[in-house]
């Protein structure tokens, strides 16, 4: 139980030590950060084996008094562990990729410190069983991601980051408002406890309002469709490794994860909310895919594609059935892997050629074989071609839609998938296919550490389908889905009777 605290103490300590003593270790900073994140990933794996899930940890030793929590609690269940694994694994890979690709920037140790702080904030959000703690750690990761987006300080970066900050800041305020309303009604900040208090009260309007506030606030952080406008600016503007972590995990941990937790365990996922989630997901999926198809900037195409994949996750989670939740979680994990890989590829192309406009690119197949091969795998994954990972999760989502009695939604999702395929065929064709161009004389494949990062992710893209196997599925996905599908009854698991 004590080990849980390491998820916060170790990243914060590393970040501080990097800022204080970074001058002497700046050449090794990338490796240090990567090792720290890998160690945390190993810790997650260890948590799967040694602990009886779910459990709660009372921070500072303030155990509940007569069943009422008075301090902060961490909640550790299958869902938390899945998110922790994604966060820390992606952190490790991103740090590995950063070693060579960030070389041209100054203030590198601050970059790595910020990466650690981003990981710390997301770990804190994933662990929080307390609304306000969730808000505070959300702010840590949000602020570090604002800074990371603008790390290069170009005009475009600054502007995109400013937009991101303004929308993110107002989202935080909406979330804080909702938290204040919850405290007004229940007098507690613990999610499980608040849900228990509310089950005995009738406050329909307030809960509706609170739910709307949470949905808008976290929806802004997750870039669900009507609230997406910052993402297509912020993610392309950031340096490549930062875009990878932003698109790969940040939008999920700051947006989708709290939404799922709050709606399933606190507000109650039924009535009007199912419909709203499905509609929002369906809009994000289709519109973002169409917009992605129209893009010529590689990173912008990928950014719109992130929104559409978030749409898939929202639909799957919105169904509320056990199969839907499993499919959503599976797609979340898959998307983390292949979207990080695609942003790495885009970064590699930009690093090698100096631009990222598809109209000017072409013929990179022979010059950058590793980038080409890995991006092909990632593209097929995201487009949902068998046997790559994306196929299985999208198939599950479609089956879940059918089973839940939404055949139209299933067709809609399949259509969206075809659009994604079209967008990525465009990416492959214009980026790697076609004749050689004259600028290519001096082009080299990216450095070795970046290649390693891409290859690891590509292997995972192929291997993630294994999560469908019964053994792994019951070990990893099912505990997470189980805790969510229990809905409001899960409070007894966290607080006892």
């Amino acid at each position: 139980m004590n080990t849980i605290a390491y998820f916060l103490v170790v990243p914060l300590g590393t970040a501080l030590l990097l800022v204080i003593f970074g001058r002497w270790v700046v050449r090794w900073a990338g490796i240090i950060v990567s090792v720290v994140f890998s160690a945390l990933t190993a810790l997650v794996v260890q948590c799967y084996f040694i602990n009886q899930l779910p459990f709660t940890v009372a921070v500072g030793g303030w155990e509940p008094v007569q069943g009422i929590p008075l301090g902060i609690h961490w909640v550790v269940d299958g869902f938390t562990l899945l998110m922790l694994a994604l966060i820390n694994f992606t952190g490790a890979i991103v740090a590995l990729y950063s070693i060579s690709s960030m070389k041209s920037y100054t203030k590198l140790r601050k970059y790595y410190a910020l990466l650690m702080l981003l990981g710390l904030g997301m770990n804190g959000v994933a662990l929080a069983g307390d609304l306000f703690t969730m808000y505070v750690f959300l702010e840590i990761s949000a602020i570090s991601s604002y800074i990371l987006v603008a790390f290069g300080r170009g005009a475009e970066e600054l502007e995109a980051s400013f937009k991101y900050q303004v929308l993110g800041g107002s989202a935080s305020m909406l979330i804080l408002f909702a938290i204040a309303l919850v405290y007004r009604l229940t007098g507690t900040l613990n999610i499980a406890d608040a849900s228990r208090v509310l089950s005995g009260q009738s406050a329909e309007m307030t809960m509706l309002f609170t739910g709307a506030l949470f949905l808008t606030g976290f929806g802004l952080k997750a870039a669900i469709m009507p609230f997406h406008s910052w993402l297509p600016d912020a993610h392309p503007a950031a340096p490549a490794p930062v875009s990878a972590i932003l698109s790969g995990v940040v939008i999920k941990v700051l947006g989708i994860y709290p939404l799922c937790r709050l709606f399933y365990h606190f507000i109650g996922f039924e009535g009007v909310w199912t419909g709203i989630w499905l509609v929002l997901g369906a809009i994000s999926l289709m519109v973002a895919n169409i917009l992605a198809l129209a893009q010529w900037d590689i990173k912008r195409l990928l950014a719109y594609c992130s929104i559409s994949q978030i749409g898939y996750i929202v639909i799957a989670m919105g169904l509320g059935t056990e199969l839907g939740i499993i499919a959503g979680l599976f797609h979340m994990a898959n998307h983390t892997i292949f979207k990080s890989l695609l942003f790495f590829n885009a970064g590699a192309i930009e690093h090698a050629t100096g631009f990222r406009d598809l109209r000017k690119l072409g013929g990179l197949r022979t010059k950058m074989p590793v980038t080409y091969a890995t991006s092909l795998i990632a593209s097929f994954s995201i487009a949902g071609l068998p046997p790559f990972s994306g196929f299985w999760s999208k198939l599950l989502i479609i089956i879940a839609c059918m089973k839940a009695g939404h055949p139209f939604l299933a067709i809609w999702a399949a259509l969206g998938s075809m659009l994604t395929l079209a967008a990525f065929l465009k990416f492959q064709h214009h980026g790697f296919g076609g004749p050689d161009k004259e600028y290519q004389q001096s082009i080299k494949e990216v450095s070795f550490s970046s290649q390693i990062a891409m290859i690891i992710l590509a292997i995972l893209c192929l291997g993630m389908g294994c999560l469908m196997l019964p053994g792994l599925r019951s070990a990893i996905l099912e505990p997470a889905a189980n805790i969510l599908s229990q809905g409001l009854n899960a409070t007894t698991l966290f607080l006892g009777n």
Binding site: A5, L8, V9, L16, V19, I20, A58, V59, G60
Partner: protein, 146 residues
Amino acid sequence: MKHGMSVIVQSIARLMVPFIWMFGIYIIAHGHISPGGGFAGGVFLAGGFILITLAFGSAPDKEERSQDFASKLESEALLIFLIMASIGLVLKLGLMANLLAKTHPGLPGHIAAGGLIPWENLAIGVEVSAALAVMFIAFARHRLKE
């Protein structure tokens, strides 16, 4: 801000700043007894510093040095706070355990009470004041450049 402000402002600042700092330290030290604490006191300390800089101005190289110093001080103060928080972790009491208070809570209302709380207040106070100083100097230096 090479020149600072007029003599009147400077002498008033010279008179006031010691009191502001004393008040800040008092607030930090009595955070567990009376209103205030690390945050309020830290902001007062930073306020005194800002008043001095505004009144007297400073040279660019000195600003750079004090910015580096403040930045380092800030990180170190936060590190000390983190270490205090982790003592409980090492002793298997959990992160943030106020272990002194569990055995000797002291008498509420006395300065030697609250276990780790006064020390944590001190670390927070230093962290906050240094962080605000860093922010302020960053703005001031930028103005010098333009």
